[in-house]
C-alpha cells in the first residue's frame, strides 16, 4: 500500500531510491538520528546499523531522545507511531486475551443537603480555612486556605441552588493509582464477560502489564474501570469532587498537574459548574459542582411542564414532567479535567469519566411502552423504571503509550498533538466483550488526546448510529463505517448481534490512520485496516465481540425511525454572526475584518492562539473575553479551519448547536450531523457554520479545540453570557486561584467585538 511509502516509514518493500537515500544517511550518525527523528528511517534499519536494540531501546547515544515529530518503530508489523518514545512494551500479551470491564457505576446519595456530605454544600463557596501543606506553597509554613476551591462570592454561587436544589449527591476524589475493591458494574457478571466484581482490580491496563505506580495514573477514586455517573432530568446532582493528588507538584511521574477543574461535557449548567479553565482547585480542597440537569429552554419553553416528552423517568415506570424543550433532550455526556494548559496531561493521566442522562424519551428500560419512551436497547429495569445498563454499554476509546517499565508515558513537549501506540477500550488493552444474540447500544466516547477514530465491524455488517454527541439524532443512520470521530465526540450505536451464531467472533476495527497528532493521515478501507500493513499500530482490530448465548428474555428493544427532531429556530432572530478561525495558513491571508477572530497556526508548528485580526497571535488567557452574546439571544457562528495541515474538533460549551452548513453549504452536512452537537470537527481547510442559543444560565464559558494539546497551547477562547441582569455582570471579573484562596481581577482584555 502506498501509504507505507511516503515518508513516515520505510518498509523492506520501499523503493531502491528510498533505501539508497536512507543508506546515504548512514554515512553520518547525526544524519541518521535526524532522519530517524523525522520518521525517514525505520527501527529495522537502525537495528541493522546497531543504533537501536531489539527491545526497541535506543542505543546509548546521547541526544537520541524524542523531539517534535519524532517517530519510533514499534513491534507488530514493523509499524511506527510517534509517541515520542520507543514503542510501548506489551510484555508478551496477546490481543483479545482479557475481558473488557464495563464502567464502574458510582454510588448516589439521596440526601445531598442533609447528611450525605460533610460539610453540607452551600450556595456560595465554603470559605472555611484549613492549614496548607507546606509542599503546596513552596515550603511556606503556617498558611491557611479555604476548604472549597470554588471562587468565593455571589458570582460563583450556584445559580438556581434553591429552585434546582440538589436531590442526589455524588462524591469522588481525584486520586493516585490504587486497587479497586468496590467495583460496581451494575450488571450481572455474565453481562460483564464473567468478571467477578468482588475480586480486587489492580490498576493495570492489562493483567499481563505491570501495575501502575501511584503517580503514573490519576483517576476518579484512583481506580479503574472508568467511572459512570447515572442521572436523570429534573433530579439535580451535587457532585463533590475532592482533590487528593500529591501536594508536591513534582510527584507526577513526568506529566500531569495537581490542580484540576472538572468540566461536565456538555452540561447545560451555570458557569460556576462548568469547569472553567481558570477556576481550578488544589490538593486537599474540594469543589462542589451543581448539575441541575435541565432541558435547555426551561425558562422560556414549556415552562409549565405540560409536555410528557419533556420528562424524567419516574420511579416505577412513569414520567415526571419537567419544563423546557423536549427536543433538547441529551443522553450521553462525559466529564473530564479542564485545567489551564494541563488538560491534555491530566485527561490522559485518567481524569475522564462518563455520565448517562435518562429522560422520558430515553428511559434506559426497553420494556416501558408508553408512547413516549423510544425503547432503545437497554434491557429491563425490572420495575425500577429507568437506568438499566444490561445492553447499554459505555465504551471509552483511547490509546496509551508506556515507558520501558510499562508505566504510562506522555511526551509533554509534543505540541502538534500526542499519540499513543496501544489501543485501549475502557482503559484495557485490546479486550474482548461477550455479547448475547440481540441488539445492544454502545455509547462510544473518543477520549483520546489527539487521535481520531473511524471504525466498523470486521465483517462489514451494518451498525445503526442513533446519537451524535449527547443527542439522539432526528433519524437513525445505518453505516458500515463510522465517520472520523473526533476527540470528545460521542457516537451512540445499535449493533444487532442476532445475526451471528453462538461461538462467532466479530471485531471492531479502527480504519483511521495517524502519523502525527495534527490530523488523520488516511482513512483506510476495512480490508486495508485488517491487512495489518498500516504503519500505525492503532489501526486494525481493537475490540473482540464474542457471541456467547441467546438472551434469556426476548429482545423487545426498538430503533424507531424518528428519534428526536431538532427544535425549529427559524422564528428566532439571529442577533449576531461571528467567525472564529482556527489555524492561519500562511498562504491564505484572511480578510482583516474586525469580525474575525483567528485562533491557531498555519501548517507549521504552533503556536495556536487567539487573533483579533489578521496579524497578532494571542494565546489563551482566561482573562480575555472574546465574545459576549446577549442573554436570551441566538447567534450564528462559523468555525473556520484556516489551514489544510490540521484538523480540529472544536467544542463549544454550554448549549447544543445545530450545524447549518459545512464549507458554506447545507448539502455538505451528513445525515449523522443533522441533529444537535457540541463538538464540531472542521476537517482540514474546512468550515462549520452553526447556530446556538444563549439562555437559562450565565457566566463565563469556553470554546476550544478538543485536541487537548492544541487547546492547552492554547486554542481556547473565553466567552460569556451577558445582559441577563443580575447576577450577570458585564463583564465578569476573572478568577485568580491560589492555594490561599481565589482573588479576582478585571478582565485583562476584552476583544473589541466581544459585545
Amino acid at each position: 500500500m502506498s501509504h507505507n511509502d511516503d515518508g513516515f516509514f520505510l518498509s523492506e518493500k520501499s523503493s531502491k531510491a528510498r533505501l539508497r537515500e536512507a543508506e546515504d544517511a548512514r554515512k553520518n550518525r547525526a544524519e541518521i538520528l535526524k532522519a530517524y527523528s523525522q520518521g525517514k528511517v525505520s527501527r529495522r534499519e537502525l537495528m541493522k546499523w546497531g543504533l537501536i536494540t531489539t527491545g526497541g531501546l535506543l542505543a546509548p547515544i546521547h541526544g537520541l531522545n524524542p523531539f517534535v515529530s519524532s517517530a519510533y518503530a514499534s513491534g507488530g508489523g514493523g509499524s511506527t507511531i510517534p509517541t515520542g518514545a520507543p514503542p510501548s512494551p506489551t510484555f508478551g500479551v496477546q490481543p483479545f486475551s482479557t475481558p473488557m470491564p464495563r464502567f464502574d457505576v458510582i454510588a448516589r446519595g439521596n440526601n445531598p443537603l442533609g447528611g450525605d456530605l460533610t460539610p453540607t454544600p452551600t450556595a456560595q463557596a465554603n470559605q472555611t480555612q484549613q492549614p496548607l501543606d507546606p509542599a503546596l506553597v513552596g515550603g511556606q509554613t503556617g498558611l491557611t486556605g479555604p476548604i472549597e476551591g470554588r471562587p468565593g462570592g455571589p458570582i460563583w454561587a450556584h445559580q438556581g441552588f434553591t429552585d434546582h436544589a440538589p436531590q442526589v449527591s455524588v462524591e469522588m476524589s481525584q486520586a493516585q493509582a490504587q486497587t479497586n475493591t468496590v467495583y460496581n458494574p451494575a450488571v450481572a457478571s455474565n453481562l460483564n464477560s464473567g468478571i467477578d466484581p468482588t475480586s480486587p482490580i489492580p490498576l493495570k491496563f492489562h493483567p499481563g502489564f505491570p501495575t501502575q505506580n501511584a503517580n503514573s495514573v490519576w483517576t476518579f477514586n484512583g481506580t479503574i474501570p472508568p467511572k459512570l455517573v447515572i442521572g436523570r432530568y429534573g433530579e439535580p446532582i451535587l457532585f463533590r469532587h475532592h482533590n487528593r493528588l500529591p501536594a508536591d507538584v513534582t510527584q507526577n511521574n513526568g506529566f500531569g498537574r495537581n490542580t484540576i477543574s472538572t468540566h461536565e461535557h456538555n452540561g447545560h449548567h451555570g458557569a460556576e459548574n462548568d469547569g472553567f479553565t481558570g477556576a481550578f482547585f488544589f490538593p486537599n480542597q474540594f469543589y462542589d459542582y451543581h448539575w441541575p440537569i435541565v432541558l435547555a429552554g426551561f425558562r422560556s419553553v414549556n415552562t409549565d411542564a405540560t409536555d410528557p416528552r419533556a420528562g424524567s423517568p419516574a420511579d416505577n415506570g412513569g414520567i415526571n414532567k419537567v419544563p423546557g424543550d423536549w427536543r433538547e433532550t441529551m443522553s450521553t455526556h462525559w466529564f473530564h479535567d479542564h485545567m489551564f494548559t494541563f488538560t491534555s496531561q491530566n485527561v490522559y493521566k485518567g481524569n475522564a469519566a462518563m455520565f448517562n442522562i435518562y429522560s422520558a424519551l430515553d428511559r434506559g428500560d426497553e420494556t416501558v411502552n408508553d408512547g413516549v419512551n423510544l425503547r432503545l436497547p437497554s434491557g429491563s429495569s425490572n420495575g425500577k423504571g429507568w437506568g438499566n445498563l444490561d445492553y447499554d454499554v459505555n465504551l471509552m476509546l483511547n490509546e496509551k503509550a508506556f515507558d520501558a517499565s510499562g508505566q504510562l508515558f506522555m511526551d509533554i513537549f509534543q505540541f502538534d498533538g500526542f499519540l499513543g501506540d496501544l489501543m485501549c477500550v475502557n482503559l484495557t488493552y485490546k479486550p474482548f466483550f461477550e455479547v448475547e444474540r440481540r441488539k445492544y447500544r454502545f455509547r462510544i466516547l473518543n477520549a483520546s488526546v489527539s487521535r481520531f477514530f473511524k471504525y466498523g465491524l470486521s465483517d462489514g455488517s451494518p451498525m445503526i448510529q442513533i446519537a451524535n454527541d449527547g443527542n439522539l439524532l432526528p433519524t437513525p443512520v445505518v453505516q458500515t463505517l463510522s465517520d472520523e470521530q473526533g476527540i470528545a465526540e460521542r457516537y451512540d450505536w445499535v449493533i444487532d448481534f442476532s445475526r451471528y451464531n453462538i461461538g462467532d467472533k466479530v471485531w471492531m476495527v479502527n480504519t483511521c490512520e495517524h502519523r502525527d497528532g495534527k490530523k488523520p493521515s488516511a482513512d483506510l478501507t476495512l480490508a486495508q485496516a485488517l491487512s495489518g500493513t498500516s504503519s500505525d499500530p492503532c489501526v486494525g482490530k481493537f475490540l473482540e465481540f464474542r457471541i456467547v448465548r441467546d438472551p434469556a428474555t426476548p429482545d423487545v428493544s426498538q430503533v424507531p425511525n424518528v428519534l428526536i427532531p431538532n427544535p425549529d429556530l427559524s422564528s428566532i432572530p439571529v442577533s449576531r454572526e461571528r467567525t472564529f478561525t482556527f489555524g492561519s495558513g500562511a498562504s491564505q491571508p484572511l480578510a482583516a475584518s474586525e469580525e474575525t477572530y483567528t485562533t491557531g497556526a498555519g501548517n507549521q508548528a504552533g503556536p495556536w492562539g487567539v487573533q483579533t485580526d489578521n496579524g497578532k497571535m494571542l494565546n489563551a488567557s482566561w482573562g480575555r473575553i472574546s465574545a459576549a452574546p446577549g442573554y436570551g439571544t441566538r447567534e450564528v457562528w462559523t468555525l473556520q479551519n484556516g489551514g489544510g495541515g490540521w484538523d480540529h474538533p472544536i467544542h463549544i460549551h454550554f448549549e447544543e448547536g445545530q450545524i447549518l452548513a459545512r464549507n458554506g453549504s447545507a448539502s455538505n452536512v451528513p445525515a449523522w450531523e443533522k441533529g444537535r452537537k457540541d463538538v464540531y470537527r472542521l476537517r482540514p481547510g474546512g468550515s462549520v457554520t452553526l447556530t446556538m442559543q444563549f439562555r437559562d444560565w450565565g457566566g463565563m464559558f469556553m470554546e476550544h479545540c478538543h485536541n487537548t494539546v492544541h487547546e492547552d497551547n492554547a486554542m481556547l477562547v473565553r466567552w460569556e453570557i451577558d445582559n441577563g441582569g443580575a447576577p450577570f455582570l458585564r463583564p465578569l471579573p476573572t478568577p485568580v486561584p491560589t492555594p490561599q484562596g481565589v482573588g479576582f481581577v478585571a478582565p485583562d482584555d476584552i476583544a473589541p467585538t466581544a459585545f
Binding site: L136, G153, T250, S405, I412, P731, G741, V742, A746
Partner: protein
C-alpha cells in the same frame, strides 16, 4: 583506595540492579519522577552569551531554575520586537526575582548574524535588565534545543519570519512546562511564571472575603484604547515618557493623519523609502524597528482617534500635564 574501589563497585552494582528492576517492570523509583525532563532529555550543548561567556544548556541555563525561553533573531522586523518588548514588561513585573530564581533567555535562531556583540547591542536597545541572557551558538545545537522545547518550526517559504512567537516557561526541578505566546498579556505570563511554576511559593494571601466587587471596572467602550493597550503599550506611553519607543503624547498634533496611517501600517516600507522623519526616529530610538502590527483599517482609525483624544485632553488640562511631570525634558516633545 581499595575502600573507594569497593564503594564504586557497590554503586555500579546498585545501579545495575536498579536497571534490572526497572527493566523487569518493577515500580519506577520515586527519584525518577521528573528525571524524564532533566539531564537525560535536554542537550547539554554549549552556547555563548552576549558577554562571550560559554554556558552549557542544561547545566547552566536550565538546571534548578525557573526559566523563560524564547527564540529570536535580531534582524527580525515582525514579531520579535514586540515579543522582546512584551517579555521586558513581564521581567519588570517579576522584579528582583529575575536573576535570583527566575531566568530569562532569548536564543538566536540566526547565529551567524547574531554574534555575542550583536546580541549585546540588541539587549541594550531594549533596556534589558539583569537576569535576562541572550544566547547564540551552533545552528545545529540551537535547532536541537528548539526541538526539545517544542518551539521548532520547519522552515516555511511562505513565512520569511520562520519562527513561532512562542515562549516556553518552565521549572526544571519540577518538570512543569508551559508554552505560551510571547506577545500575549504580560500580567498573565508573570503570574504563571512567578506563581504557577514555582509551586506557589510566592503566592500572596488572598482576602478571605475576596469579592468580584473589588475588581475594578474596565472601560470596554473605547476600541482605540484597547488597541493601544494590547499592541502599543509594551513600547510606548502617552505622557509618561519614552520607553523603547517615543512617548506618543501629542503625536497627532505634530504628524498628519495620513503619515501616521502609512507609518503604523507599513513601518518597514516607510523606513526603506528613507522617509526623513521615520529615519530620524529609527536613529533616535537605537535602530529598533517599529514592528508591523498588521492592524486592520478599523483598528488603525480607532487607534489614531484614541491618540488624538488623549493628546487633546492633555492639552486642555494643565493639571494632567503636571501629573505626568515624570516626562523627561528631552522627551516631552519626542517627535519634533
Amino acid at each position: 583506595m581499595r575502600r573507594t574501589g569497593q564503594a564504586g563497585f557497590a554503586t555500579v552494582a546498585a545501579i545495575f540492579l536498579t536497571a534490572i528492576l526497572y527493566l523487569a517492570a518493577g515500580p519506577t523509583p520515586a527519584a525518577a519522577d521528573n528525571a524524564r525532563w532533566g539531564a537525560g532529555y535536554f542537550p547539554n550543548v554549549v552556547l555563548t552569551t552576549q558577554d562571550g561567556a560559554k554556558v552549557h544548556f542544561y547545566d547552566d541555563v536550565l538546571k534548578g531554575k525557573s526559566v523563560v525561553i524564547d527564540l529570536i533573531y535580531t534582524s527580525c522586523v515582525d514579531s520579535c520586537p514586540l515579543e522582546t518588548a512584551r517579555l521586558a514588561q513581564v521581567q519588570k513585573m517579576l522584579g528582583d526575582r529575575v536573576g535570583k530564581d527566575i531566568f530569562f533567555y532569548s536564543i538566536s535562531i540566526d547565529p551567524t548574524h547574531d554574534t555575542p556583540k550583536v546580541l549585546k547591542a540588541y539587549a541594550q536597545k531594549y533596556h534589558i535588565g539583569p537576569g535576562w541572557t541572550f544566547l547564540t551558538g551552533k545552528k545545529a545545537d540551537i535547532d536541537l534545543i528548539s526541538k526539545k522545547l517544542g518551539l521548532y518550526s520547519e522552515p516555511d517559504p511562505n513565512d520569511r519570519d520562520g519562527h513561532t512567537p512562542s515562549v516556553m516557561i518552565g521549572n526544571e526541578p519540577s518538570g512543569q512546562w508551559m508554552r505560551n505566546s510571547a506577545t500575549d498579556n504580560a500580567r498573565f505570563l508573570a503570574n504563571m511564571i512567578g506563581n504557577w511554576l514555582d509551586g506557589w511559593g510566592h503566592a500572596k494571601a488572598v482576602d478571605a472575603k475576596a469579592n468580584y466587587e473589588q475588581a475594578p471596572a474596565i472601560d470596554i467602550s473605547d476600541r482605540g484604547r484597547y488597541v493601544f493597550t494590547t499592541h502599543c503599550a509594551a513600547c510606548h506611553t502617552i505622557g509618561h515618557g519614552d520607553k523603547i519607543g517615543p512617548d506618543l503624547l501629542g503625536v497627532t498634533n505634530v504628524r498628519d493623519r495620513s503619515w501616521l496611517e502609512t507609518f503604523i501600517s507599513t513601518p518597514e516600507k516607510v523606513i526603506a523609502a528613507k522617509d526623513p522623519v521615520a529615519v530620524a526616529l529609527y536613529k533616535k530610538y537605537n535602530g529598533i524597528n517599529m514592528p508591523n502590527l498588521r492592524l486592520s483599517d478599523a483598528e488603525l482609525n480607532n487607534l489614531i482617534d484614541f491618540l488624538a483624544r488623549q493628546s487633546a485632553e492633555h492639552g486642555k488640562d494643565a493639571a494632567t500635564a503636571e501629573k505626568v511631570g515624570t516626562v523627561k525634558a528631552d522627551s516631552a516633545q519626542p517627535l519634533r
